[in-house]
């Protein structure tokens, strides 16, 4: 039975956004804990710490910390992002936009997606993203927060942020310290227990930090977790990109409220802009014979610990799960791990059965994110060897199931711990030209002409609503003023 000895002290190793976010969240959401942070430098391969683009879930993470938008967004120079523009993923085909949140408005007996599929089969459909409020705002360079009424044309969409990484990290660090987290020094070494668990952390100043639970946020090296043992699940046979180069530059140019992701011969590249900084980067496969680009090249070994939490050590961020930044899931997965630690905190004895449930959820989530990233490659169509090899990988069973169900009849089965909503899966699948063979028979009760009228009418409302919305820059300026 339970030892009944609660966890009282947590030590976090790391020094990036993930470590400081964990420190702030654990301390603020469980104020009875004593939380210490031991600095360990952020490796360039730590995607969750180094990628500027984030998913809409970051706003929920801020809410749980009682962080206001003017502190978390405006004062850190972050910008809203409504989605991603994809270019070049399917040769000889126009790009597409993955906008967050709902597409279209359901009517009759079927989902909006089914109306779209039927129109697409008849060769009579606008691009799917034309029905995404997020995409419409983004491509118009405009922004307003979602209308609280779900039936409004600009309701039911979501948005994430592009972070100005150093400023955001500084804000999170200040919040953590203000909340009572102690910053104890720099990591020099890890002292092990006989069973591989962490006995203590040695600091360069000669001190030793002990705790009931150690959180490893040290990036891919996983300085704490790696020595504890256990195996890794390797995704490198499916996800062929193994190198990332990132360049962050200060600028103040007029940037749109979305990022661009462009396919290249050996991978893809991106551009994402915060208020006064822009991140560009490349993600590629070193096995596909292109010269190394300039800049610091980080290596990436996609995969996850089979047990991210083992004994008294839980790995989060890239210390737990390494995946390329396509679709920007990295910081989301770290936030999700932090939320899960808060929701599932065991006793000091960290018994296996409680950790097993943590690990079950964590792996289910990670594998589905892997599936979603992989989806982009296996449905892309380009002639280069990298793309041919990517399209030919053996699919994980879960993704294969999704693709069979979707290709056959537009069905998108929901899995446990799914990060990306059906609308997101549909945006990528439709965007890359995958049109189901059949349509849901339940739609047949609605006349195609009535479908077409409803779709046209929604699209018209969307266009008018976007025209009336302010430019995204104006939104930021206004928010910035109100923050001062």
């Amino acid at each position: 039975m339970s030892s009944g000895e609660p966890i009282r002290r947590i030590a976090i190793a790391g020094d990036g956004i993930v470590a400081w976010s964990a420190a702030a969240a654990l301390r603020r959401r469980m104020p009875w804990l004593s939380v210490a942070l031991v600095r360990a430098p952020v490796a360039p391969g730590a995607m969750a710490d180094c990628i500027a683009s984030t998913l809409p879930s970051i706003l929920g993470f801020h809410d749980d910390l009682a962080l206001r938008d003017d502190d978390a967004v405006q004062r850190t120079g972050a910008a809203v992002r409504l989605g991603t523009a994809f270019e070049g993923w399917v040769e000889a085909s126009p790009g597409y936009f993955h906008g967050y949140g709902a597409h279209g408005r359901p009517f009759g007996t079927a989902s909006f997606q089914q109306h779209w599929i039927r129109a697409a089969q008849a060769g009579d459909a606008r691009p799917f993203h034309d029905y995404s409020p997020a995409a419409a705002l983004a491509l118009g360079g405009r922004f307003v927060p979602p209308d609280p009424s779900p039936s409004a044309p600009l309701g039911r969409f979501e948005y994430g942020l592009v972070l100005d990484l150093p400023r955001y990290r500084a804000m999170m660090r200040a919040l953590a310290l203000h909340s009572g987290v102690s910053e104890t020094g720099d990591l020099a070494g890890v002292e092990r227990r006989a069973d591989g668990g962490v006995a203590g952390l040695h600091l360069t100043n000669g001190n030793r930090v002990t705790a009931d639970l150690f959180v490893d946020a040290t990036g891919p090296a996983a300085l704490l977790r790696a020595g504890a043992g256990g195996g890794r699940e390797d995704w490198s046979r499916e996800l062929l990109c193994d190198r990332v180069v990132i360049a962050d530059a200060a600028d103040a140019r007029e940037a749109p409220p979305y990022d661009r992701v462009e396919a290249r011969a050996d991978g893809w590249q991106w551009t994402a802009s915060a208020a006064r900084s822009t991140q560009t980067g490349r993600c590629f496969s070193s096995r596909h014979g292109t010269p190394e680009p300039d800049g610091e090249v980080a290596e990436l070994s996609p995969g996850t610990w089979e047990r991210p939490w083992l004994g008294n050590c839980v790995a989060i961020g890239d210390a737990a799960i390494a995946i390329e930044p396509l679709e920007w899931s990295n910081l989301h997965l770290a936030h999700s791990a932090i939320d899960r630690i808060v929701a599932m905190l065991p006793d000091r004895d960290c018994v296996d059965i409680e950790l097993a449930e943590y690990n079950r959820q964590t792996l289910a989530e990670a594998r589905r994110v892997r599936d979603f990233v992989l989806l982009h490659y296996v449905t892309a169509r380009r002639a280069e060897p990298f793309w041919q090899a990517s399209a030919a990988v053996a699919l994980p069973q879960t993704l294969e199931h999704t693709l069979i169900q979707f290709r056959e009849r537009g069905r998108l089965p929901v899995h446990e711990e799914e990060t990306f909503a059906r609308d997101s899966w549909a945006a990528v699948l439709f965007g890359q030209g995958v049109v189901p063979r059949r349509v849901d028979p339940l739609i047949e009760d609605t006349d195609p002409a009535a479908s077409a009228r409803a779709m046209t009418s929604f699209h018209g409302e969307l266009i008018s609503a976007v025209r009336a919305a302010p430019p995204s820059r104006a939104f930021h300026d206004q928010q910035g003023r109100s923050a001062r």
């Binding site: 039975m1 339970s2 009944g4 609660p6 966890i7 959401r29 469980m30 104020p31 009875w32 007996t109 808060v342 929701a343 599932m344 905190l345 065991p346 006793d347 018994v351 059965i353 409680e354 097993a356 449930e357 959820q361 069979i404 169900q405 056959e408 009849r409 069905r411 089965p413 929901v414 899995h415 446990e416 711990e417 799914e418 059949r438 849901d440 028979p441 339940l442 047949e444 009760d445 195609p448």
Partner: protein, 504 residues
């Protein structure tokens, strides 16, 4: 528009499952199929008074069935949950509500606070005092829930208890009104295609041959198509769910009309009590390995609380499901596909899920293997999760008074359930699943009701000062009390909204 050729759907069996399937297909896929149902009046239907889950409301709504009309026609009553008596110990009673505990909106589950106080030795009332659904049920009241999630009155849902013998004819009128055909007759042979193994036609006693493209087996336990014809194996779960018979016995209504079903533990199983407008359904679900039919009949006759309206009638069954519910061109819906005892009123829910999936995966001329696979994946998941939930009721007992209870108390249970129970016991954690019918509050109700009491709690539940927490609990109980007081009695609500026409 040019669609795929319309499919000839042949449904075998005219009970609840058969007519629900017929009505749904005729209403929702009129261009895709013609519906032809074959039933024999010589074969009785199992319908014994049916208790449902809240999901039935969505089904009715989809078919355009008005609630009041349906309730009056089936002599239905409202159901807020199930009362379990004598399960963990003789004398115990708890309600598994269709609703949450507390206000249902906090970041930390209400039962974590309850567990914390309980563990600290502070006297707190049983958790059902903090569930509006439980309290409305206990006091025999009813009103429809609020749709405003901020209100306490939004924290419950409801289902129906109705006469299944009346539900099938009600649906039949709807289905036939939408063009479904019905043939009276007994199936004596099933012709299969020599090459594909698919069912080609049914041969009736009259000699009539009924051809079709898709055959839906709603023949109940007999499983004429999926079992006899297709030979799909049955996965037997009786090692965990040993009850294999029921003795049913309706009686006159007596006392207040309860807005809940009762499940009372018995020496070799349990008995249901389902209150309808015109009578009360009763039945003793028992294991023939632990008691005889005669003793069971005596026990049910002694257990009913009104004048019996018939002699006890014995039904036989076996817990489990087909390995696959859809094989070739044959889809099993209802008892032909699997049987789980009615302890948690899941029978009609499982029928409904099978129909919903069949609608979503309805085939073109040729059935795609991916349609069948997906149907079987999702349906099997439903059965498997309900199975674990049912086993919990039996296994989590302290009873030692009969061999039956000794068996279920000490039997080996599936690992999936053992892990779930251990997680709850340690810290009140409920394993979260996206699919599956019973959500967190259901598991909490049954764990606590069965005396699986956590020894630890979520550390966050320790945050509020004890006095403040106790005061908040009292305030909540008082608000629940006021809300219940303002509701009409169940009987008065029915009289006003959906009373049956006087029984003939």
């Amino acid at each position: 528009m040019d669609g795929p050729r319309s499919q000839r759907v042949i449904i075998v069996g005219g009970g609840t499952a058969g007519w629900m399937t017929a009505a749904a297909l005729a209403r929702l896929l009129p261009r895709r199929c013609t519906v032809h149902l074959v039933e024999s009046e010589a074969i009785g239907i199992v319908g014994v008074g049916e208790a449902t889950l809240p999901h039935i409301r969505a089904f009715n709504e989809r078919l355009g069935i008005p609630e009041a009309d349906f309730m009056a026609a089936t002599r239905g009553t409202f159901k807020l949950g199930i009362e379990f008596r004598d399960w963990a110990r003789i004398g115990d009673s708890y309600v598994h509500p269709f609703g949450t505990f507390g206000r249902g909106r906090s970041e930390i589950d209400f039962h974590q606070y309850w567990a914390r106080l309980h563990q600290a030795g502070i006297a707190v009332p049983p958790i059902e005092h903090f569930s509006l659904a439980c309290q409305v049920a206990r006091r025999n009241r009813f009103a429809t829930p609020s749709t405003d999630p901020r209100e306490l009155a939004s924290t419950f849902g409801y289902a129906y208890q109705f006469d299944a013998v009346l539900f099938a004819p009600y649906l039949r009128r709807i289905a036939e009104g939408l063009g479904a055909r019905r043939t009276e007759g007994k199936v004596v042979d099933v012709e299969r295609d020599g090459e594909t193994g698919d069912i080609a036609a049914l041969v009736l006693e009259s000699g009539e041959r009924v051809e079709g493209d898709l055959f839906v087996d709603c023949s109940g336990f007999r499983a004429l198509l999926i079992g006899d014809a297709m030979g799909e194996p049955f996965e037997d779960w009786s090692q965990w769910l040993p009850a294999d018979r029921a003795a049913a016995m309706p009686c006159r209504s007596q006392g207040a009309l309860t807005p809940y079903t009762s499940a009372v533990a018995m020496p070799a199983g349990w008995r249901w009590r389902i209150p309808l407008q015109h009578r009360t359904g009763n039945g003793y679900v028992y294991s023939s390995a632990f008691t005889s039919d005669e003793d069971a009949a005596r026990a049910i006759a002694a257990g009913v609380d009104g004048t019996p309206l018939a002699e006890p009638r014995v039904l036989r069954f076996k817990a489990g499901r087909r390995a696959r519910g859809w094989v070739g061109n044959c889809v099993a819906v209802g008892l032909a596909g699997g049987f789980l005892e009615p302890l948690e009123s899941t029978s009609i829910y499982l029928v409904q899920q099978a129909i919903t999936l069949l609608l979503e995966l309805f085939p073109e001329t040729r059935i795609a293997p991916s349609d069948r696979d997906e149907f079987n994946r999702v349906i099997n998941l439903e059965y498997d999760r309900i199975r674990d939930f049912l086993i919990l009721h039996y296994h989590a007992t302290e009873r030692t008074d009969t061999e039956f209870w000794n068996y279920v108390r000490t039997m080996a249970i599936p690992d999936s359930l053992a892990d779930k129970m251990e997680l709850f016991r340690r810290r009140g954690r409920v394993v979260k699943y996206r699919e599956g019918v019973f959500l967190d509050a259901s598991w909490v109700a049954v764990y606590l009701g069965q005396r699986v009491i956590p020894v630890g709690h979520d550390p966050r539940a320790a945050a509020p000062p004890t006095d403040a927490l106790v005061a908040e609990l009292h305030a909540l109980a008082a608000e629940i009390d006021r809300t219940v007081q303002a509701m009409p009695t169940h009987e008065a609500f029915i009289a006003r909204h959906c009373a049956m026409a006087d029984a003939a």
